[in-house]
């Protein structure tokens, strides 16, 4: 059972990092209905991406042995949403993305991006792509690299510097734009990689492991950036093998295993299965008996209460408020997506 801390407050966290409203905002975020925040009027639009029955095998070695890449992948992505591809390393996420971007020719299947053929270079003017391993020309500075990509995108020269400034600002790299890429840390390369995806003001962003290499602050910034881009109506496809990242961002998730798409779910459906634990201050001498009916245990001066799903969490928090109890933190103890992922993994293991 994994424990993901979604809010830490009170004595355990030291200070409230974002002012006095932090707890309220975090709790509101947890207890709010998990429906995706899609811009109105977009649901009925044509898919931003349509992938149908995609197959790709690779040949390996002297005898050209056939290795399965992906088999029968089909999904469609609603405009203005965040769609996640979840799977272990080698599940077929990157191969799927490579096919979408025409870096790899599928053996079978069809792909259309924003209603256009995926292999038309002009379609790619409307896409921003961050590869899993963002290698760039190390002899260039961040600004020079962005200028190079801006030229490839056909950004007007008069507009170029302004756009580079904006993109550097969006990924908090204004200070480091003049530094050579060879001097960048992995996290900085990831950020400059994200900046280049935004240069052409794309309608569709395809991000392969966008959080990789980032420190916690960087992850949070990128998360906020992606949510902000979704609010602007951009469609985002991200691949990851990290469940919490997907839970925090995605509207819909496709789970890949051994090159096959084994499940597609909306996060709204899955969040119904999420369970929470509330950690309460319980100083010496205070009994926790006011929580009769809840399952709890005492660890030192912390009372850990199993709250259950989101409705029960809301009820427990109301109860604590009425009783004047101090809430230290709320943990996510198991999630619908995690359960689904583990269940599918077990099924696959058993089938072997």
């Amino acid at each position: 059972m994994s424990v993901q801390q979604v809010a830490t407050i009170g004595p355990r966290s030291g200070t409230d990092p974002e002012g006095t409203g932090f707890l309220e905002r975090q709790l509101a975020e947890i207890t709010a209905p998990a429906a995706p925040q899609r811009p109105a009027g977009r649901i009925a639009e044509a898919p931003a991406l349509q992938v149908a029955d995609l197959h790709k095998d690779f040949r390996s070695g002297f005898l050209r042995r056939r290795l399965r890449g992906i088999a029968g992948i089909s999904f469609s992505v609603t405009p203005g949403t965040i769609f996640a591809l979840l799977g272990h390393n080698g599940a077929g996420k990157t191969t799927t993305i490579n096919c979408i971007l025409d870096l790899v020719r599928p053996d079978h299947g069809s792909i259309s991006i924003l209603g256009r053929p995926h292999d038309d270079p002009r379609t790619r003017a409307r896409i921003g792509y961050l590869p899993e391993r963002p290698y760039f020309f190390e002899h260039l500075s961040g600004r020079e690299l962005l200028a190079f990509y801006a030229d490839l995108l056909g950004v007007p020269r008069t507009d170029r510097e302004g756009r580079i400034d904006r993109c550097l600002e969006l990924v908090s790299m204004q200070e480091f734009g003049g530094r050579r890429l060879s001097k960048y840390s992995k996290g900085m390369l990831q950020r400059i990689g994200l900046a280049q995806t935004l240069l052409g003001d794309p309608e569709l962003l395809i991000l392969d492991e966008p959080m990789s290499g980032l420190d916690p602050l960087g992850r949070r910034e990128v998360r906020e950036l992606l949510l902000d881009l979704r609010r602007q109506g951009k469609t985002i496809i991200l691949s990851s093998h990290i469940v919490p990242d997907i839970e925090m961002l995605a509207d819909e998730v496709a789970v890949l295993q051994s090159g096959r798409l084994v499940a597609t779910r909306s996060l709204a459906q899955l969040s119904e299965g999420t369970g929470y634990r509330v950690n309460l201050a319980c100083p010496a001498g205070r009994s926790g008996d006011d929580l009769a009916g809840w399952r709890w245990r005492l660890e030192g001066d912390v009372q850990r209460v199993e709250a259950g799903p989101v409705d029960a969490l809301r009820e427990l928090l109301d109860h604590c408020h009425r009783q004047g109890r101090t809430v230290l933190s709320v943990d996510t103890v198991h999630t619908g997506l995690e359960d689904l992922f583990l269940q599918l993994h077990e099924q696959e293991e058993n089938a072997r």
Binding site: T94, N98, L103, P121, R124, A125, H139, L152
Partner: protein, 257 residues
């Protein structure tokens, strides 16, 4: 489209500058000076001729070094490092990419030969009476030859590894200078099949002797304008065909993001 190609070409050119390819121009100057210093006392009265011979030959050698060292690796390196996937995720066609790379290396060759040419002319001016405008024609034909060889290396680098591309290109360069001999050898063979086979090889290989007027100009011959024109059409046409083939191969290539 033109902006995309020119952006890629300029970026390739800058990379060669950063990789200190132009140090070779310095080496060329050194070879010229050394040849003057060492050979002049041995060749009284033919100093200019020796300098011309050494200078024009050195241009081919240094040009080939650039083509083999840079050209064989420029596409392959980007494929292996993964820089290519970000480029091709932009509105850049694979053929445009290859053309940009090819033109970028040509820009390097033009700049190098230009600098070497200036150095060459300056040194010839110091040896009075040895300058001829035909030398300019010979340098131009050398450049055309290197452009064609550049297309050969781009073609091979889309099919095989960088070391193999360099070896195959060098083989093509040598065979290209011997293609007439290959045809003559075929004509001496008994069977019509052998004659046809050697003829096919002759026509498939680039005839690089078309561009080799270096020996002729050293001995005072001039180059006809019609020869320059035909060599240009032949060189550009052959390079164009190779690029079309390279584009077709590269178009099908799987690239990993």
């Amino acid at each position: 489209m033109m902006r995309t190609i020119s952006t890629l070409a300029v970026s390739t050119f800058r990379e060669t500058v950063r990789d200190r390819i132009f140090y070779l121009v310095g080496m060329f100057g050194f070879v010229m000076l050394a040849s003057t210093a060492v050979l002049s006392p041995l060749t009284i009265g033919a100093q200019g001729k020796i300098m011309t011979d050494v200078g024009l030959a050195a241009m081919v050698v240094f040009g080939m070094l650039v083509v083999l060292l840079v050209g064989s690796n420029m596409v392959r390196k980007e494929v292996e490092k993964g820089t290519i996937v970000t480029i091709l995720s932009k509105p850049v066609g694979r053929r445009q990419y290859l053309l940009g790379k090819f033109l970028g290396l040509n820009l390097t060759l033009v700049s190098m030969l230009g600098l070497m040419g200036v150095l060459f002319m300056l040194m010839l001016l110091m040896a009075p009476g040895s300058f001829s405008p035909a030398y300019l024609g010979a340098i131009y034909l050398t450049l055309l030859e290197l452009v064609l060889i550049n297309a050969v290396v781009v073609f091979f680098s889309t099919c095989v590894s960088a070391p193999l591309a360099a070896i195959f290109t060098l083989g093509t360069f040598v065979a290209g200078h011997l293609s007439q001999s290959i045809r003559d050898f075929g004509a001496l063979q008994g069977t019509p099949f052998q004659q046809k086979l050697f003829n096919v090889i002759y026509y498939l290989l680039p005839n690089l002797e078309v561009f080799n007027m270096r020996g002729a100009v050293v001995h005072g011959e001039t180059i006809a304008a019609s020869h320059l024109l035909l060599a240009t059409v032949y060189g550009v046409g052959y390079a164009g065909l190779l690029l079309i083939l390279a584009g077709a191969v590269f178009q099908r290539r799987a690239l990993r993001g």
